[in-house]
Subunit: 363 residues, 4 copies
């Protein structure tokens, strides 16, 4: 079940970058949720390359198909199979360099683990393309969360070393879609554009940091001691290729704070218990506390770069140099934002169902 995630709201991933399709099964979605191909297409399109100048030129059509689990535009309670057929595939470059392990990629580890039988074309199961299917599942998860008023968003707070100024939630929501970087600080976004351009010319790549936020999360989600909300979200987020760090609330900076500074004092506001600050990122003891859930995700620079790199030929077991061909994103951060949203949404659905906060039949 290594390709499945979740307990009550569970997803199962399948497909490869250069195989016939990428797909996902959503199992456990309550019956009675209105869901159409358009709903899912809209989300899938957010991940599309070409929406930002940072992205690959591969003309992915990514036409979503619903194979099961709905009837007359409503979920039936049965597993929902969602699929995108792969088109516009050119595996020739991968065939040529089949045994040259690309640095930063899974070529070597997959070769070892699967005895060389893994689908190496375009990274196979390890391609970022797999996350297109995560986004389809996320589309359903978001619609489900919507029934209990939970909203999930993810924006870029750092890219290629350029940090965005912290903004208020309203400004984030209003601004992040106004630039191809999903950055709420438009000035920073301009600098990011320039940085990307420069890096591109140098045949190199950059990474960044995405901040995911979930609003109106009811208090009580999370199942200590091992199925904590943080642990569940982290596991889901590390399934996104290129993620190398996950932190909640004040995160790593908490390590430099005093307890008196990092503890969020409780108070009552409009008859509701809230915290004055949100260093906890909305999670205390592994359980949501009703404040905005805040998680940050470190994205490493794209492993595929045009520059020549030192590597090893896995078949001949000798040194080699490699120049990765094909079409690649200089920075995947903007496209990854919707994937981060999706993994958060999927995880929250699972926890909300475990807490019996979503009924098994939506009315």
């Amino acid at each position: 079940m290594e390709n499945s995630l979740g307990k009550l709201f569970a997803i199962t991933s399948f497909g490869e970058s250069h195989g016939r399709c990428v797909g996902i099964i959503v199992d456990g979605c309550p019956a009675g949720l209105p869901i159409t191909g358009e709903d899912i297409q809209r989300e899938a399109d957010k991940r599309k390359p070409g929406t930002s100048m940072a992205a690959t030129k591969r003309a992915e059509e990514d036409k979503v198909e619903i194979l099961s689990g709905t009837l007359n535009g409503m979920t039936t309670g049965a597993p929902i199979c969602l699929l995108i057929w792969n088109r516009d595939i050119d595996s020739s470059e991968y065939e040529k360099a089949r045994f040259l392990a690309r640095p930063g990629h899974a070529d070597y580890t997959a070769f070892i683990k699967y005895g060389g039988f893994n689908d190496f074309r375009g990274g196979g199961r390890f391609s970022g393309r797999i996350t297109a299917a995560f986004v389809m599942a996320g589309a359903i998860a978001k619609k489900l969360l919507d029934t209990i008023g939970v909203e999930v968003l993810a924006h870029t707070i750092e890219l290629g070393g350029i940090k965005a100024e912290p903004k208020e939630l309203d400004e984030i929501k209003g601004t992040m879609e106004k630039n191809p970087f999903k950055c709420a600080d438009l000035k920073a976004a301009e600098a990011m554009a320039k940085a990307i351009e420069k890096v591109k010319q140098e045949g190199d790549s950059v990474g960044g940091i995405i901040e995911g936020i979930a609003l109106n999360v009811p208090a009580g989600l999370g199942e200590p001691v091992f199925d904590t909300l943080e642990g569940g979200l982290a596991k889901a987020l590390f399934a996104i290729p290129a993620v190398k760090g996950v932190e909640f609330g004040s995160g790593f900076s908490a390590a430099r704070k005093r307890g008196s500074e990092n503890n969020d004092p409780f108070t009552i506001k409009n008859g509701k218990i809230v915290t004055v600050a949100n260093n906890a990122g909305g999670i205390l003891g592994g359980i949501s506390n009703g404040m905005p859930l805040v998680v940050r995700v470190a994205i490493k620079p794209t492993s595929s770069i045009a520059k020549s790199q030192q590597t090893v030929d896995l078949k001949d077991m000798k040194g080699a140099s490699l120049q990765v061909a094909g079409r690649h994103d200089v920075c995947i951060v903007p496209r990854a934002a919707v994937v981060v949203e999706s993994m958060i949404a999927v995880t929250l659905c699972d926890f909300a169902m475990r807490a019996e906060l979503i009924p098994r039949v939506i009315k």
Copy 2:
């Protein structure tokens, strides 16, 4: 199964801070592993308070008992139940402040989630004391990893804002046990001691960063796409109270690097494929690559502080001020190091068994 972790090598936690005991069941440990109470006691003692000046004064005896799963000092293949009876318990302070939610603690979220029925005494299930049982499981996991040559260690690299200088692996191993902070930089350790003393006088607390390292991890551990090694380790580590961030290899700093800089070139050394650098922290595509596994964990400052804090009375739903009584660590980082080791060890055992790298009967 929210109190269980792992698939083949699985642990189930039980017990409360001020209940009768804390315990753990290790299910799936191969038969034929030599294991004694002393083996486990030795590890449990590493978590003991009083081993460092940063720690609480509670005189925890923490005498380990093996209730099942071994015969004549060898594991039998049956579940191993390990237990520490609680002694020296004084719940009076907690009774008094029962409804005053301590900032930074799970009091409020547990109250909401369990309708006020949760064992609030000493934090109940949310107490750091629960991790004493994690360490017992870790003791078995370490012995099991030892049969395939894997070694796990965790050391303090930052505490109260003081950063340790990076050291070579040999120096880390040689030095980290020579000071109460598990810090490989003895100069930094001295500064940490002073910082702790100051913070203590101010009735405050500090956090820090622990780095976990696993050596000789065979390539091939990790099950993409959702049961990645990073995801599995992160989930396990977020089960430790106070952990608010987890990163692998270059982690969050990868966000500021170029691909050409962050990619670890492959080369051949002594007939083995290795990487020249280790920005990946030993994991590529969610699978171990044979290099040292490197994970860093952000520990927030201890939530219990002597200083007065603003809070809410959960019963009367009105504002209150709170001064947390009882005995508390000014900084849990040094004691948490062995817990980090344990969670890494437990997780690696599970993945190693899934990869069939540990036989079901040890010979």
Copy 3:
């Protein structure tokens, strides 16, 4: 997790027949359920030997202890660890015949599976004594089911070849506790007593059939296609040593019926949809239909018999003859009835929670 069962209401078994204890952890029980040691003791006592003449003479005290998960007589939402210390153990006979595989027992298969490291004393993990812990979990499950009006019972319908006459539910309830065989047909019970006596004198053993019934099960429990109610119950019931068959409703006799005869027609009674007959045993399509749940369990004759048997010495790999010493039940059926009840109750709790029919906090 092979020693765990259930998804939301989950149990984890530990302990051995001649080890320190047998125990169980109940994870996922809602908070706020009143539960005392006496509640559990009462159920555990039903499994006690000596309550029927069919039973072993081992003076099992089976004093139940609650180690965690309750506070002031109420569940807290934390895992509940229940334990019985083993006393009155005499392993000498087992030491003597250690390598003589007892026919019908797990000695041989456990030896192979665990490389000879398994705890062989008294059958170790494979002893019926393990089910004492199942009954403790069942006690909690029954209390939980009680909150939604579900009642579970199990009675003997066949023993040593003697079949009880079918009785109405009221008569079963009224009569089954009036004889040591849990048989609702008192005449049959008398014949069973005689049969047992005869078999005992011959140094032999007998089996039988237990029928489990669950009343007021709400319609809608069961999660097709793989987590069906039948599949879940069967898996739970096959965990009872000596169970070799499980059938629902008309069961194996359905194979001889016509569809027109076996289909239960629907009708409306008191404004509720019911079926006129109950050949389905309360389950249609893997989901409960609101009718009484009826399951029958085949119990093989006790494997331990006084008669001499042909076997093999596992160490010397040569033929041997064996006379099983120790104290053994001539027939375990009457004692197994409460275990059947327990496994049904535990399984129904899990399914009821999955269907959101039991709240996470009991009020």
Copy 4:
């Protein structure tokens, strides 16, 4: 994960009878197993209607497609998605009788569970057609078992009240494919043909009993105490619609035997420990003992019959009479045999992998 089964070799089912397709994902299959569409088609064809006179006339083409998980005819270690597109669908009869709950079917329970949103057409998720996908998974499982010499077969031992004479294994293998009933007793098969013809004319249906046998199963499969081989197989077999009973070895007849009769004495044959008889059906203590695994499955008579039946209109909540239209099998037993084989094979693969008896890469 209710539509998933298995731990290491896991299957996830999706699709509906009258939806776009039925499919299955096989997750955890080792890399390096040769597998082609033809391999799977051959198995799928065994379930085809029209292979026996007992079957429906629906012209199911059931063309198997492999969507993922193989490369150049070999498994890659990635999830294998297998799919059959639905064609020749006529849902009009179902639309007409949408709210008339067919006796013996899941119409009523699904209506309750999914609030009327379930796909009712042709039984939706509860149709026997779903098992076409089980057979595809079974095809892969059989190929995998073949690498360790395990063979699985299932034959009809009773149909419409006609019992086949017990036959030796060789005769079963040689004869069962020679008649449309998969019956090793050709004389009985003739009687079955007549019985079917008569029942058909009467607009009724019959059931039967299928015996599954697995040969060369290595000793040591099964994970007590809850993941027993019996429990695992039973759960898998109860996922087949119409199964109402499962028994192993002497099964329910063990209830009438003496211990001295039912215990299988051990002996040594060709240097191997075997049992003289096989009342245990190859399983002792939940673990395979190396003898043939024998399981019997009770199949109820087909619920869909031409005769008029009493039922209830779920919408109007009033009594009604119903004559099930459409094309239906008078008896599904012969077609179900290959499904029984498939579920046994899938389960054995999972247990064999858990026992590390199948490598993660096939060479």
